[in-house]
Protein backbone atom coordinates (compact mmCIF):
# COMPACT_ATOMS: atom_id res chain seq x y z
CA UNK A 1 0.00 0.00 0.00
CA UNK A 2 2.79 2.34 0.91
CA UNK A 3 4.46 1.85 -2.43
CA UNK A 4 1.16 2.45 -4.29
CA UNK A 5 0.64 5.71 -2.42
CA UNK A 6 4.24 6.65 -3.10
CA UNK A 7 3.85 5.88 -6.80
CA UNK A 8 0.65 7.95 -6.96
CA UNK A 9 2.37 10.81 -5.20
CA UNK A 10 5.33 10.57 -7.59
CA UNK A 11 2.93 10.50 -10.52
CA UNK A 12 1.15 13.57 -9.16
CA UNK A 13 4.46 15.39 -8.81
CA UNK A 14 5.37 14.52 -12.40
CA UNK A 15 2.03 15.82 -13.66
CA UNK A 16 2.45 18.97 -11.60
CA UNK A 17 5.95 19.51 -12.98
CA UNK A 18 4.65 18.98 -16.52
CA UNK A 19 1.96 21.62 -15.93
CA UNK A 20 4.53 24.07 -14.56
CA UNK A 21 6.79 23.38 -17.53
CA UNK A 22 4.03 24.13 -20.05
CA UNK A 23 2.87 27.15 -18.08
CA UNK A 24 6.41 28.49 -18.07
CA UNK A 25 6.84 27.86 -21.79
CA UNK A 26 3.53 29.46 -22.67
CA UNK A 27 3.98 32.52 -20.49
CA UNK A 28 7.52 33.11 -21.78
CA UNK A 29 6.34 33.06 -25.39
CA UNK A 30 3.26 35.19 -24.76
CA UNK A 31 5.38 37.81 -22.97
CA UNK A 32 7.64 37.91 -26.05
CA UNK A 33 4.58 38.39 -28.30
CA UNK A 34 3.28 41.08 -25.93
CA UNK A 35 6.65 42.80 -26.17
CA UNK A 36 6.36 43.12 -29.94
CA UNK A 37 2.72 44.26 -29.82
CA UNK A 38 3.41 46.81 -27.05
CA UNK A 39 6.45 48.29 -28.81
CA UNK A 40 4.78 48.64 -32.21
CA UNK A 41 1.76 50.26 -30.55
CA UNK A 42 4.11 52.68 -28.80
CA UNK A 43 5.91 53.45 -32.06
CA UNK A 44 2.58 54.28 -33.71
CA UNK A 45 1.49 56.28 -30.66
CA UNK A 46 4.65 58.40 -30.83
CA UNK A 47 4.27 59.06 -34.55
CA UNK A 48 3.44 62.73 -35.07
CA UNK A 49 0.93 61.88 -37.80
CA UNK A 50 -1.23 59.76 -35.45
CA UNK A 51 -4.59 61.45 -34.81
CA UNK A 52 -5.96 62.07 -31.32
CA UNK A 53 -8.72 59.54 -31.91
CA UNK A 54 -6.26 56.86 -32.96
CA UNK A 55 -4.05 57.70 -29.96
CA UNK A 56 -7.03 57.02 -27.71
CA UNK A 57 -7.49 53.57 -29.30
CA UNK A 58 -3.79 52.81 -29.04
CA UNK A 59 -3.68 53.74 -25.36
CA UNK A 60 -6.59 51.39 -24.71
CA UNK A 61 -4.78 48.59 -26.54
CA UNK A 62 -1.58 49.28 -24.54
CA UNK A 63 -3.57 49.05 -21.29
CA UNK A 64 -4.85 45.63 -22.31
CA UNK A 65 -1.36 44.41 -23.20
CA UNK A 66 -0.23 45.48 -19.72
CA UNK A 67 -3.21 43.69 -18.16
CA UNK A 68 -2.41 40.54 -20.13
CA UNK A 69 1.24 40.62 -19.03
CA UNK A 70 0.22 41.27 -15.42
CA UNK A 71 -2.14 38.31 -15.53
CA UNK A 72 0.66 36.05 -16.75
CA UNK A 73 2.96 37.33 -14.02
CA UNK A 74 0.32 36.69 -11.37
CA UNK A 75 -0.36 33.13 -12.54
CA UNK A 76 3.35 32.35 -12.66
CA UNK A 77 3.89 33.76 -9.19
CA UNK A 78 0.99 31.80 -7.76
CA UNK A 79 2.29 28.59 -9.31
CA UNK A 80 5.82 29.29 -8.05
CA UNK A 81 4.64 30.19 -4.58
CA UNK A 82 3.10 26.75 -4.22
CA UNK A 83 6.52 25.23 -4.88
CA UNK A 84 8.41 27.24 -2.25
CA UNK A 85 8.86 25.57 1.11
CA UNK A 86 7.71 27.84 3.94
CA UNK A 87 11.09 27.25 5.65
CA UNK A 88 12.60 29.24 2.80
CA UNK A 89 10.46 32.33 3.46
CA UNK A 90 12.38 35.52 4.29
CA UNK A 91 11.79 37.80 7.25
CA UNK A 92 10.52 41.05 5.74
CA UNK A 93 9.85 44.51 7.10
CA UNK A 94 6.12 44.95 6.50
CA UNK A 95 6.22 48.71 6.02
CA UNK A 96 9.24 48.39 3.72
CA UNK A 97 7.34 45.93 1.52
CA UNK A 98 4.28 48.22 1.43
CA UNK A 99 6.37 51.28 0.51
CA UNK A 100 7.97 49.26 -2.32
CA UNK A 101 4.51 48.33 -3.60
CA UNK A 102 3.43 51.99 -3.53
CA UNK A 103 6.51 52.92 -5.58
CA UNK A 104 5.66 50.15 -8.08
CA UNK A 105 2.09 51.42 -8.28
CA UNK A 106 3.33 54.91 -9.19
CA UNK A 107 5.61 53.40 -11.86
CA UNK A 108 2.58 51.58 -13.29
CA UNK A 109 0.67 54.86 -13.59
CA UNK A 110 3.30 57.52 -14.34
CA UNK A 111 0.72 60.01 -15.67
CA UNK A 112 -1.78 59.68 -12.85
CA UNK A 113 -1.81 61.50 -9.52
CA UNK A 114 -2.60 58.85 -6.93
CA UNK A 115 -3.02 59.90 -3.32
CA UNK A 116 -1.88 57.09 -1.07
CA UNK A 117 -1.80 57.66 2.69
CA UNK A 118 -0.17 55.14 5.02
CA UNK A 119 -1.03 55.08 8.72
CA UNK A 120 1.06 52.71 10.77
CA UNK A 121 -0.39 52.08 14.24
CA UNK A 122 1.64 48.91 14.76
CA UNK A 123 5.17 50.33 14.58
CA UNK A 124 7.95 48.21 13.11
CA UNK A 125 6.61 44.80 12.18
CA UNK A 126 8.35 41.88 10.51
CA UNK A 127 6.49 39.13 8.67
CA UNK A 128 7.49 35.96 6.83
CA UNK A 129 7.16 35.88 3.06
CA UNK A 130 8.76 36.08 -0.34
CA UNK A 131 8.90 38.76 -3.03
CA UNK A 132 5.31 37.77 -3.80
CA UNK A 133 4.22 39.70 -0.68
CA UNK A 134 5.04 42.93 -2.52
CA UNK A 135 2.79 41.74 -5.35
CA UNK A 136 0.02 41.07 -2.86
CA UNK A 137 -0.02 44.72 -1.76
CA UNK A 138 0.56 45.95 -5.30
CA UNK A 139 -2.49 43.96 -6.40
CA UNK A 140 -4.60 45.54 -3.66
CA UNK A 141 -3.38 49.03 -4.55
CA UNK A 142 -3.80 48.48 -8.30
CA UNK A 143 -7.27 47.09 -7.66
CA UNK A 144 -8.12 50.25 -5.69
CA UNK A 145 -6.95 52.45 -8.58
CA UNK A 146 -8.97 50.38 -11.07
CA UNK A 147 -12.10 50.63 -8.98
CA UNK A 148 -11.80 54.37 -8.33
CA UNK A 149 -13.38 56.16 -11.27
CA UNK A 150 -11.91 59.58 -10.45
CA UNK A 151 -8.86 61.01 -12.21
CA UNK A 152 -7.01 61.29 -8.89
CA UNK A 153 -7.69 58.09 -6.95
CA UNK A 154 -7.47 58.22 -3.16
CA UNK A 155 -6.25 55.12 -1.29
CA UNK A 156 -5.86 54.68 2.45
CA UNK A 157 -3.51 52.05 3.82
CA UNK A 158 -3.44 51.24 7.53
CA UNK A 159 -1.24 48.86 9.49
CA UNK A 160 -2.75 47.74 12.77
CA UNK A 161 -2.71 44.86 15.25
CA UNK A 162 -6.14 43.27 15.62
CA UNK A 163 -7.53 42.88 19.15
CA UNK A 164 -7.76 39.16 18.45
CA UNK A 165 -6.17 36.87 17.59
CA UNK A 166 -2.87 37.97 19.05
CA UNK A 167 0.37 37.74 17.12
CA UNK A 168 -1.23 38.95 13.91
CA UNK A 169 -0.96 42.18 11.96
CA UNK A 170 -3.52 43.69 9.56
CA UNK A 171 -2.78 45.66 6.42
CA UNK A 172 -5.96 47.33 5.23
CA UNK A 173 -6.45 49.03 1.88
CA UNK A 174 -9.57 51.15 1.46
CA UNK A 175 -10.73 52.52 -1.87
CA UNK A 176 -13.52 54.73 -3.15
CA UNK A 177 -14.66 52.43 -5.95
CA UNK A 178 -17.94 50.69 -6.53
CA UNK A 179 -17.24 48.11 -3.82
CA UNK A 180 -17.71 44.36 -3.70
CA UNK A 181 -21.26 42.95 -3.49
CA UNK A 182 -21.94 40.56 -0.61
CA UNK A 183 -22.32 37.52 -2.87
CA UNK A 184 -18.86 38.06 -4.29
CA UNK A 185 -17.45 38.74 -0.82
CA UNK A 186 -18.65 35.32 0.26
CA UNK A 187 -17.19 33.66 -2.82
CA UNK A 188 -13.84 35.43 -2.40
CA UNK A 189 -13.66 34.69 1.29
CA UNK A 190 -14.54 31.03 0.78
CA UNK A 191 -12.07 28.23 0.96
CA UNK A 192 -13.43 26.69 -2.21
CA UNK A 193 -12.01 27.62 -5.59
CA UNK A 194 -13.85 30.64 -6.95
CA UNK A 195 -16.46 29.95 -9.60
CA UNK A 196 -16.20 31.37 -13.10
CA UNK A 197 -18.43 34.37 -12.38
CA UNK A 198 -16.34 35.41 -9.37
CA UNK A 199 -13.17 34.88 -11.33
CA UNK A 200 -14.45 37.04 -14.15
CA UNK A 201 -15.57 39.91 -11.93
CA UNK A 202 -12.95 39.87 -9.21
CA UNK A 203 -10.11 39.18 -11.58
CA UNK A 204 -7.20 36.98 -10.77
CA UNK A 205 -5.62 39.72 -8.66
CA UNK A 206 -7.79 39.26 -5.58
CA UNK A 207 -7.69 35.49 -5.90
CA UNK A 208 -3.91 35.73 -5.95
CA UNK A 209 -4.00 37.96 -2.85
CA UNK A 210 -6.18 35.41 -1.11
CA UNK A 211 -3.97 32.46 -2.06
CA UNK A 212 -0.73 34.25 -1.15
CA UNK A 213 -2.06 35.51 2.19
CA UNK A 214 -3.01 31.93 3.03
CA UNK A 215 0.39 30.64 1.94
CA UNK A 216 2.08 33.14 4.27
CA UNK A 217 0.00 31.90 7.20
CA UNK A 218 -2.71 34.54 7.09
CA UNK A 219 -5.88 35.34 5.21
CA UNK A 220 -7.83 37.97 3.30
CA UNK A 221 -10.75 39.79 4.94
CA UNK A 222 -13.18 41.55 2.62
CA UNK A 223 -15.44 44.34 3.82
CA UNK A 224 -17.00 47.69 2.97
CA UNK A 225 -15.27 51.02 3.51
CA UNK A 226 -18.57 52.26 4.93
CA UNK A 227 -19.95 49.35 6.89
CA UNK A 228 -23.12 47.96 5.36
CA UNK A 229 -22.91 49.96 2.12
CA UNK A 230 -20.72 48.21 -0.40
CA UNK A 231 -21.34 50.86 -3.06
CA UNK A 232 -19.09 53.36 -1.24
CA UNK A 233 -15.94 51.33 -1.77
CA UNK A 234 -14.13 48.26 -0.54
CA UNK A 235 -12.02 47.60 2.52
CA UNK A 236 -9.57 44.75 1.96
CA UNK A 237 -7.46 43.48 4.82
CA UNK A 238 -4.56 41.07 4.60
CA UNK A 239 -3.98 39.54 8.03
CA UNK A 240 -0.53 38.02 8.53
CA UNK A 241 1.34 36.45 11.43
CA UNK A 242 3.90 38.78 12.96
CA UNK A 243 7.46 37.56 13.40
CA UNK A 244 8.65 38.34 16.90
CA UNK A 245 12.38 38.48 17.44
Amino acid sequence: MGSTTGARSEHGRDENNDCLFYLDLMSHDILNFNQAVLSYLEITLNDASTSEETRHYLLSAIDQIRNSSQLIDDVKKMARLEQVNSDAFDTLSLEGVIQGSIEDLRLMHPDMHIEVSVRNDAGHVNVKGTDVLGDVFLNLLANAVRQDQSEEPVIEVTITRPKAPSGMVDVTVEDRGSGIPDQMKRALAGEKRADNVTRKHAGLGLLMVRAAAKRFGGHLIIGDRIRGDHTKGAKLTVRLPEVRS
Partner: protein
Protein backbone atom coordinates in the same frame (compact mmCIF):
# COMPACT_ATOMS: atom_id res chain seq x y z
CA UNK B 1 24.72 44.20 -30.49
CA UNK B 2 21.42 42.36 -30.09
CA UNK B 3 21.19 38.70 -29.08
CA UNK B 4 17.82 36.93 -29.00
CA UNK B 5 16.64 33.64 -30.49
CA UNK B 6 13.34 35.11 -31.69
CA UNK B 7 13.76 36.70 -35.11
CA UNK B 8 10.79 39.02 -34.56
CA UNK B 9 12.32 40.30 -31.30
CA UNK B 10 15.67 41.01 -33.00
CA UNK B 11 13.76 42.86 -35.76
CA UNK B 12 11.86 44.76 -33.09
CA UNK B 13 15.05 45.91 -31.35
CA UNK B 14 16.44 46.98 -34.69
CA UNK B 15 13.31 49.04 -35.40
CA UNK B 16 13.22 50.68 -31.96
CA UNK B 17 16.94 51.39 -31.79
CA UNK B 18 17.03 52.87 -35.30
CA UNK B 19 14.09 55.08 -34.42
CA UNK B 20 15.88 56.28 -31.29
CA UNK B 21 19.11 57.03 -33.15
CA UNK B 22 21.21 53.99 -32.25
CA UNK B 23 22.93 51.59 -34.61
CA UNK B 24 22.78 47.81 -34.32
CA UNK B 25 26.20 46.66 -35.55
CA UNK B 26 25.65 42.93 -35.00
CA UNK B 27 22.95 40.41 -34.24
CA UNK B 28 23.01 36.81 -33.05
CA UNK B 29 20.25 34.25 -32.60
CA UNK B 30 21.80 32.05 -29.92
CA UNK B 31 24.51 32.23 -27.28
CA UNK B 32 27.13 30.33 -29.29
CA UNK B 33 26.72 32.62 -32.28
CA UNK B 34 26.95 35.66 -30.01
CA UNK B 35 30.23 34.49 -28.45
CA UNK B 36 31.73 33.60 -31.86
CA UNK B 37 30.73 36.92 -33.39
CA UNK B 38 31.96 38.92 -30.40
CA UNK B 39 35.32 37.13 -30.56
CA UNK B 40 35.93 38.11 -34.18
CA UNK B 41 34.44 41.60 -34.22
CA UNK B 42 36.81 44.36 -35.24
CA UNK B 43 34.63 47.05 -33.77
CA UNK B 44 32.99 45.93 -30.56
CA UNK B 45 29.57 47.23 -29.55
CA UNK B 46 29.09 49.83 -26.81
CA UNK B 47 26.28 47.74 -25.36
CA UNK B 48 25.09 44.15 -25.76
CA UNK B 49 21.36 43.50 -25.35
CA UNK B 50 21.14 39.88 -24.30
CA UNK B 51 18.22 37.47 -23.95
CA UNK B 52 18.45 34.52 -21.54
CA UNK B 53 16.46 31.56 -22.83
CA UNK B 54 18.25 30.61 -26.05
CA UNK B 55 19.40 27.38 -27.68
CA UNK B 56 23.00 26.13 -27.42
CA UNK B 57 24.07 28.58 -24.74
CA UNK B 58 21.82 30.59 -22.43
CA UNK B 59 22.21 34.28 -21.69
CA UNK B 60 24.12 33.92 -18.42
CA UNK B 61 26.63 31.47 -19.95
CA UNK B 62 27.02 33.75 -22.96
CA UNK B 63 27.56 36.78 -20.77
CA UNK B 64 30.21 35.04 -18.65
CA UNK B 65 32.18 34.06 -21.78
CA UNK B 66 31.94 37.54 -23.24
CA UNK B 67 33.11 39.06 -19.95
CA UNK B 68 36.13 36.74 -19.98
CA UNK B 69 37.02 38.16 -23.41
CA UNK B 70 36.34 41.72 -22.33
CA UNK B 71 35.69 42.48 -18.67
CA UNK B 72 34.50 45.95 -19.63
CA UNK B 73 31.72 44.74 -21.93
CA UNK B 74 28.44 46.41 -20.99
CA UNK B 75 25.58 43.97 -20.98
CA UNK B 76 21.90 44.81 -20.69
CA UNK B 77 20.04 41.62 -19.86
CA UNK B 78 16.48 41.49 -21.18
CA UNK B 79 14.27 38.53 -20.43
CA UNK B 80 10.66 37.46 -20.02
CA UNK B 81 11.91 35.36 -17.12
CA UNK B 82 12.17 37.61 -14.07
CA UNK B 83 13.54 34.73 -12.00
CA UNK B 84 16.86 35.12 -13.78
CA UNK B 85 17.36 38.77 -12.76
CA UNK B 86 19.43 38.13 -9.63
CA UNK B 87 21.66 35.57 -11.35
CA UNK B 88 22.19 37.87 -14.33
CA UNK B 89 23.19 40.84 -12.16
CA UNK B 90 25.36 38.64 -9.93
CA UNK B 91 27.25 37.36 -12.96
CA UNK B 92 28.04 40.78 -14.36
CA UNK B 93 25.02 42.21 -16.19
CA UNK B 94 24.96 46.01 -15.93
CA UNK B 95 21.20 46.19 -16.10
CA UNK B 96 18.07 44.06 -16.33
CA UNK B 97 14.78 44.66 -18.11
CA UNK B 98 11.83 42.30 -17.95
CA UNK B 99 9.66 41.79 -21.00
CA UNK B 100 7.43 43.43 -21.91
CA UNK B 101 9.25 46.74 -21.31
CA UNK B 102 8.29 50.20 -22.50
CA UNK B 103 10.49 51.83 -25.14
CA UNK B 104 11.37 54.63 -22.72
CA UNK B 105 12.67 52.05 -20.26
CA UNK B 106 14.94 50.55 -22.91
CA UNK B 107 16.30 53.95 -23.91
CA UNK B 108 16.82 54.97 -20.26
CA UNK B 109 18.72 51.73 -19.59
CA UNK B 110 20.90 52.18 -22.66
CA UNK B 111 21.68 55.80 -21.79
CA UNK B 112 22.50 54.85 -18.21
CA UNK B 113 24.93 52.19 -19.42
CA UNK B 114 26.49 54.49 -21.99
CA UNK B 115 27.36 57.01 -19.30
CA UNK B 116 28.67 54.48 -16.83
CA UNK B 117 32.47 54.45 -16.61
Amino acid sequence: MVVDDEVFIVDLYRDILKLKGYEVIATAYDGDEAVRKYQTMEKRPDIIILDHRMPNKNGVETMVEILVMNKNAKILFVSADIMIEKEALKNGAHGFLSKPFRMDELVESIEKLRHEP
